[in-house]
Symmetry: C2
Subunit: 503 residues, 2 copies
Amino acid sequence: MPESLASFDQLKARLDDVQNITSAVALLGWDQQTYMPEHGAATRGDQMATLERIAHEMFTTPAMGQLFEQSAVELASADDASDDASLVRVAKRDYDLKTRVPASLIAELAHTTSLAHTDWIKARAENNYALFAPWLEKIIALKRQEADHIGYAENRYDALLNQYEYGTSTAEVTAIFDALKKDVVPLVTRIVEQKERANDSVLRRFYDVKKQNDFSARVAHDFGYDFQRGRQDVAVHPFCEGMSRDDVRITTRFDPRFLQVALFGVLHETGHALYEQGVGADLPHYLASGTSLGVHESQSRLWENVVGRSRGFWKHYFPQIQDVFPESLSDVDVETFYRAVNTSAPSFIRVEADEVTYSLHIMLRFEMEQELLSGTLGVADAPAAWNEKFKSYLGITPPTDTLGILQDVHWSIGLVGYFPTYALGSMLAAQLYEKAAHDVPSIPADIEHGQFASLLGWLRTNIHAHGRKFTPKELVQRALGEPLNARPYVQYLTSKYGDIYGF
Amino acid sequence: MPESLASFDQLKARLDDVQNITSAVALLGWDQQTYMPEHGAATRGDQMATLERIAHEMFTTPAMGQLFEQSAVELASADDASDDASLVRVAKRDYDLKTRVPASLIAELAHTTSLAHTDWIKARAENNYALFAPWLEKIIALKRQEADHIGYAENRYDALLNQYEYGTSTAEVTAIFDALKKDVVPLVTRIVEQKERANDSVLRRFYDVKKQNDFSARVAHDFGYDFQRGRQDVAVHPFCEGMSRDDVRITTRFDPRFLQVALFGVLHETGHALYEQGVGADLPHYLASGTSLGVHESQSRLWENVVGRSRGFWKHYFPQIQDVFPESLSDVDVETFYRAVNTSAPSFIRVEADEVTYSLHIMLRFEMEQELLSGTLGVADAPAAWNEKFKSYLGITPPTDTLGILQDVHWSIGLVGYFPTYALGSMLAAQLYEKAAHDVPSIPADIEHGQFASLLGWLRTNIHAHGRKFTPKELVQRALGEPLNARPYVQYLTSKYGDIYGF
């Protein structure tokens, strides 16, 4: 390594600046959804837009390109897995992604999606696909241009997918999803045949909101969420937002007539938060967050579903939750409750889907996005295609577009290639848990005793600590010794739901 | 006016950017004191420092100097009082103040005060002036340099005072303070002679915190504070923070054993907030806040003291507060309560002083700051000088430096020339109220009926709407037709406290 790291030191300082602005934007966003007074929205939008623009300009200025080049020379002999080399590699990748798309196209996308989003809200409320269709047409056209600027080896969709899941190809996702679909579609059919074996009616009694809040916070604390480096608030759309590893906040919404919403919402967001709180304390700020949406979702799904909806978990917590809500749960046994929180049934809305059917909602979108992007499916024909695919995967047909193609915000705000990360996360959750329980055999018993340090410790070491240093594929390979594949998830679903639904 | 305003348009866009960053810093600061998790402090400090540095760099870049020059040409024929001309004039003044002080001195001040502040906390806790003295020596020396860079006509202290109260000279403040002192010192003596006529013991009963919160919020609302453009939270040190006129937040602290703290704290912060919420909706963002610390304090003191501690106010609200706290107030009559909230007595701590003695605390600091700056008083001799002056103004001698010269944070963080603005605000409050009641004779009766629109309307028109367009002196002259003077405040204090204390 040369003695002088002048360029690299400059690069680090600039990346720190960019990261500090990004963190400020994160806080402004958090506040917008929690405490901002109603009329503060317009000026808040201006503040966020200004900071985002400044961060973008600072990051994409040609001087940064030179600093990347010179830093690479200065660090030529550094280990690829070192913090320094990783910082240059990851930031350079972001720089390439951001500088390849011309500012005029970014501006056109921002302008278009801003208008499209407003019409999408109206279209969804009024079940009026025709209102949204021209916008979807335009957004797809712009995303094609964006993909062409970013570049790709095989498939134009790769370029979009790589914005969220760097280094993962459409072909790889297709192979994994096909393997999953082959087993999950018949699984859904068998569950439907036995649907009387479980229902969530006991969750639909009265549950005091304050008590829901306290109980869910207690579990989050038990999982290992550090409230000295985080907090829990109420928001209409729950989310996790990290300003730094030392300030990672979750939000929740409460329904006094449906326990499922807040309880599993908190466990889900806690999973995201544990990842952000667990990144290495010494990592450069720029690398100190989750490496991809898919890996992030693996953490939220692991804690929400693999742990939080397991029989072992409720063995420990059911007596506690019964104590908190005696008026609603004293006549319920743990098995009924366990089946209630694992009730599976085909339904129309993705965000309300259970863990068996969820991935089918995603595959449908993944396939349709590719067809729309390639042009093999026209925008006008998309609702019919949606409904047909829905019927073939889930056995039911959406009665309206509001319950079908119009349900998600994503396309209206220009997010194409984003959906697959949700299902990749669910699959990775099962695969990570299997490996963790193999490496640390006490984990299942620990969970039965409300002890999560063994599981969290494994995730800290193998996933969290690395932050953004590695691509999702690299990280998975290092943690598991094999790539992501469908087998553990299929096995997890088949075994768990076969037990519940008796086949 | 020339047809092209190219430079001015550019200038406006840059000032908007600077203002948006400043607003983001304001939110980060608000969050730091309200909801930030304990361990988020270090990274929050980094985020704020980065944004402040970027805003400073954007504002003080030489390109801005050119834009100011060219904009002045483009706007040569614009009315001085127009928004456009005011924007250029006010921003140029800020630019001059900020560019005159070299970056090296700013950095040295920041570094010095950061260390000094830490030692000041220790010195105050341990009553150890010797620990703080070397820092005070250094800070005074640096402030001399700063003043010399800023420049001044007569008095070096003018340069520092102008950072907070632009266009007001040391000589003017001295004249006003001397006039005030002449009457207030004997007033304090007469109050002390009659001290048995009022005491605050009824305020030191038990007052439920939630009920205090609701009652004070009700009064804030009645004053005209718009909760759709603001909110009230808890903080250790109460403050008002504005992100824009549409998002102005106040904070409060509660003491269940002393009603005074939260109730008048809220009325005080509401006064600040009404000013920020009342700036003209069409003003450029850069001008959309209070014009000076003194004028700001006039608003908080007016609503807290002139209105909130008046007999007319309690005629309306005493039955209401009695209803809220029957267990503590059912045996109290309105006159006892009115005297309790207006109890006056010399005390050592400025922030706990009543409205009669408060200005004497300020004059002492104003005089000492000048002597320290000129060198006629040495840092080693300052505690004795403090105590001597205190005895001569307030009749009592601080038993420790913790209760004397070490009590305030200001000098430790480099604020010299700041103190006088507090007393100027108190004086201006009385003068503004006198003029408002003269222009709108119904105001006193309106207050007795809990109606504040007439008073707020006058303040909106004459003070709030103008934002930063005019200097404090210009604004006062426009609103009052005369400059700030001691007569109305002396008259207000003499009449009110003569009545309470019977002379």
